[in-house]
């Protein structure tokens, strides 16, 4: 067990910082500190162009193996990259679903042909992905997916029908990975398959959802006999649940460190407000600010633990608590930001419900404890899978 950075690591850190400072300029300057959670609707085209810049610099797939076209960087270097990216105000990544979820899933379960087909587009920053899991009737009970897929008569295409919901970036994505029922009459997690579906077709309709923030990051996605080639399935028919669950494990990868640096930037803003308006002298607010600081440190240590173990998508103790840990922490930061702002918190920056970053944080962090498995579902998972307590009754 060893923490800290070597002199060589510091050279790498300087290289990353230098590249970012040099490239977050000109057309990309307005993107600094933009596009994060709660702000994902901002500058989509510019952020896609930024992805291509990142790709040119070799900064996509830094943690992927070299065999998969990545750079195979050590954990330490990945930590450094994500820290410097957030420190420089690197914009919220349009490519994170492809890089962080689809790539590792293909690396683990994809065929050589699938890897060859999909990995280069992710690495080049030219193909963007969205996630088709939740449905109106399959939220916490994700295994209740009703979207259906069947092979057409020629056997060359899957035809997909149904509705997905809470799909971030669906309107900006080229591809969607869809959990669909391929075995008619099957129930629960049996008979599900994991399909890769091109978004650019008339049989798919994307409908934005206006959220309590007033903005729309999430969408409903309607599939009406949407098509994808027969070989665009990861794993075999019926293996969809296994792959879907493994993918959720990859969600807890090195990108968590980048997320934490965004949290760090938000907390620094709260601290700056507290200094400015005198909240720093309030004994109770001081305690909460310090608690938030210590809590964020611990999220980082948790990530370092997760990343130091085998990266096979398995969920160890520290990974099982991770979602509950960060979502709870972040929602509390949102409330703390409002309490530190005091009276200022109530007045908006402008008409049309224009929120400041801290106001957006307060509202948007209420989604954090819901999406990707609500806190209640997380507690079930922890109790049943980590603590070995009896499973909930299932219909």
């Amino acid at each position: 067990m060893k923490i800290g950075f070597s002199a060589d690591d510091e050279v790498f850190r300087a290289e990353v910082a230098h590249w970012l400072a040099e490239h977050l300029q000109g057309e990309f300057a307005p993107l600094r500190f933009r596009g994060g959670p709660g702000d994902e609707h901002s500058f989509p085209q510019e952020r896609k162009a930024w992805e291509r810049q990142l790709a040119d610099g070799g900064w996509i797939g830094v943690g992927w193996s070299e065999a998969d076209g990545g750079r195979g960087l050590s954990l330490t270097r990945q930590v450094i990259f994500h820290e410097e990216y957030a420190r420089a105000g690197g914009p919220g990544r349009m490519g994170h679903i492809g890089e962080g979820l689809v790539g590792p899933t293909l690396a683990a379960f994809g065929s050589p042909a699938q890897k060859q087909r999909f990995l280069p587009g992710i690495l080049a920053g030219t193909q963007f992905w969205c996630q088709g899991y939740s449905e109106p009737g399959a939220g916490s009970d994700l295994a209740n997916v009703q979207t259906r897929a069947r092979l057409d008569d020629s056997g060359e295409h899957w035809l997909i029908s149904g509705q997905k919901v809470w799909t971030s970036l669906a309107h900006e994505a080229d591809w969607c990975f869809v959990l669909a029922r391929t075995e008619p009459g099957s129930r629960g997690h049996h008979g599900l398959s994991f399909l890769l579906v091109p978004m650019d077709q008339a049989q798919i309709r994307v409908q934005p959802i206006q959220q309590m923030t007033g903005t729309s990051e999430f969408n409903e996605v309607f599939f009406d006999q949407a098509r994808t080639a027969a070989d665009n399935m990861i794993g075999a028919p019926g293996e969809g649940w296994k792959i879907a669950m493994a993918l959720l494990g990859f969600e807890r990868g090195a990108s968590t460190l980048g997320q934490q640096m965004q949290f760090h930037n938000e907390l620094q803003e709260v601290i700056a407000v507290a200094r400015r308006n005198g909240a720093a002298r309030d004994p109770l607010l001081r305690q909460r600010i310090a608690q938030a600081w210590a809590g964020l440190k611990v999220l980082r240590y948790n990530s370092l633990r997760m990343l130091s173990g085998p990266q096979d998508g398995s969920l160890r103790r520290e990974a099982m608590i991770y979602k509950l840990a960060w979502s709870t922490w972040h929602a509390e930061l949102g409330k703390l930001a409002m309490d530190v702002l005091g009276d200022e918190a109530e007045v908006l920056e402008g008409e049309s419900y224009q929120l400041s970053r801290l106001q957006a944080l307060f509202l948007f962090s209420r989604a954090d404890t819901l999406y990707g498995g609500s806190n209640e579902i997380q507690r079930n998972i922890i109790a049943e899978r980590a603590l070995g307590m009896p499973r909930e009754a299932r219909a």
Binding site: M1, Q287, V298, Y301, N302, I382, A383
Partner: protein, 389 residues
């Protein structure tokens, strides 16, 4: 960077867990609690002679094993888990780090060698409750080429039985961080009066120590006279980190007791562990526990760099922040785990016979021992807002 245990560390963890599961089971803990001195000397001899735990972190040139603070933290997690009644914490987390950071080779030679062979030791510094420099009120008056020590110390951890005392005392007329010196002295010397204090947590003993004109020589100084505060402050941070590791072990065991009991206990025709109300509370306990564990491990790595003369100075610079972060999380995780253990055991959780109360009392004592969570938060806040404490 590699934030996971290596194979040797996992072996240390495993062998300590197996040893303590027998040597410090509930029966042994209760027997030690009932003794006047609070621990079983024969057990301490096995720990020092057979297992060499006190020698673990002491460099080989002083007769130790030359391992680091991370290995010690692994042991402490297990000793906390089994409520080990022995002067392990005071000896390894208070006295040993003070001696390791000392700049006087003669004092290191004498006492690190003694600890490696089983001598028990502790640190006495505060004449009034508190962890700040002002708490050091005992006086070191220059006298006959040495010093005469006078004053009293409250709540000295395992101070009733320790064979070696590291004491802090200040130059007459000095204030704050200036003028503080640290001395090593045998606890049975003339003028040392020790009074064991009855404690709410019977698994760890405290004592009051008085020094009545105890004569010491400059050879007993740990560092240059009057320059001891930095060392003392860092030792208290390091000890807080060791304590956090212990607390994590305690929290783990309290949760394990709860899981075992709720899996057996049946009401309404089913085990109570199957009720979501109970599952979710246990999940929250595990969340706090794993956060505390991450914080304690990380802080142990920081302490290791601070104690190593060739350690990474940047990492060592995180000592106060890492100690505060570990204490905040470990104290709350342990207390909540122990309190919930009583609640989820139901009525039997309130009895003397079942173990949850032992953990509950240890948890409360531990969260006060080296600074409450509120104190550690206030320290962090002062650091964040750039104030000097």
């Amino acid at each position: 960077m590699e934030f996971a245990f290596n194979e040797e560390q996992l072996m240390i963890q495993d062998s300590a867990a197996r040893f303590l599961a027998q040597a410090s089971d509930s029966h042994a803990v209760r027997a030690a609690m009932a003794r006047a001195d609070g621990h079983d000397l024969a057990l301490w001899q096995r720990i020092s002679d057979e297992l060499c735990w006190p020698a673990l972190m002491i460099p080989e040139r002083f007769g130790g094993l030359g391992l680091g603070f991370v290995e010690l933290a692994i042991l402490l997690e297990q000793s906390g888990r089994h409520l080990l009644c022995a002067p392990l914490f005071a000896t390894t987390c208070l006295a040993t780090p003070a001696l390791l950071l000392a700049s006087n080779p003669a004092v290191q030679d004498l006492w690190l060698g003694a600890i490696a062979s089983g001598a028990t030791a502790t640190l006495a510094f505060a004449s009034q409750a508190g962890l700040e420099a002002d708490s050091v009120q005992a006086l070191a008056e220059p006298c006959d080429g040495g010093y005469r020590l006078r004053g009293s110390y409250v709540h000295v951890i395992d101070g009733g039985q320790a064979q070696l005392l590291i004491v802090a005392a200040r130059a007459p007329g000095s204030q704050g961080e200036a003028g503080i010196s640290l001395f090593a002295l045998p606890a049975d010397g003339a003028g040392v009066v020790r009074t064991a204090l009855p404690t709410l947590d019977q698994t760890r003993r405290l004592a009051r120590i008085e020094l009545h004109d105890v004569q010491v020589t400059p050879a007993q100084l740990l560092t240059e006279a009057g320059q001891g505060w930095t060392l003392l402050r860092d030792v208290l941070h390091i000890a807080a980190i060791g304590l956090a590791a212990e607390q994590v072990g305690g929290a783990q065991q309290a949760l394990d007791l709860t899981l075992a009991y709720t899996a057996e206990r049946r009401q309404f025709g089913r085990t109570i562990a199957s009720f979501q109300a109970i599952k979710h509370r246990c999940a929250d306990l595990m969340l706090q526990l794993e956060c505390a564990r991450s914080a304690a491990w990380y802080a142990a790595c920081v302490a290791q760099e601070r104690l190593d003369p060739a350690g990474d100075a940047v990492v060592a610079g995180e000592l106060s922040e890492a100690a505060a972060t570990a204490q905040i999380h470990a104290s709350e995780a342990f207390f909540n785990s122990a309190a919930e253990s009583i609640q989820l055991h139901g009525g039997v959780g309130f009895t003397w016979e079942y173990d949850p109360h032992l953990y509950f009392k240890r948890a409360r004592a531990s969260e006060q021992l080296l600074g409450s969570p509120a104190l550690h938060r206030e320290r962090l806040a002062a650091q964040l807002f750039g104030e000097s404490l």
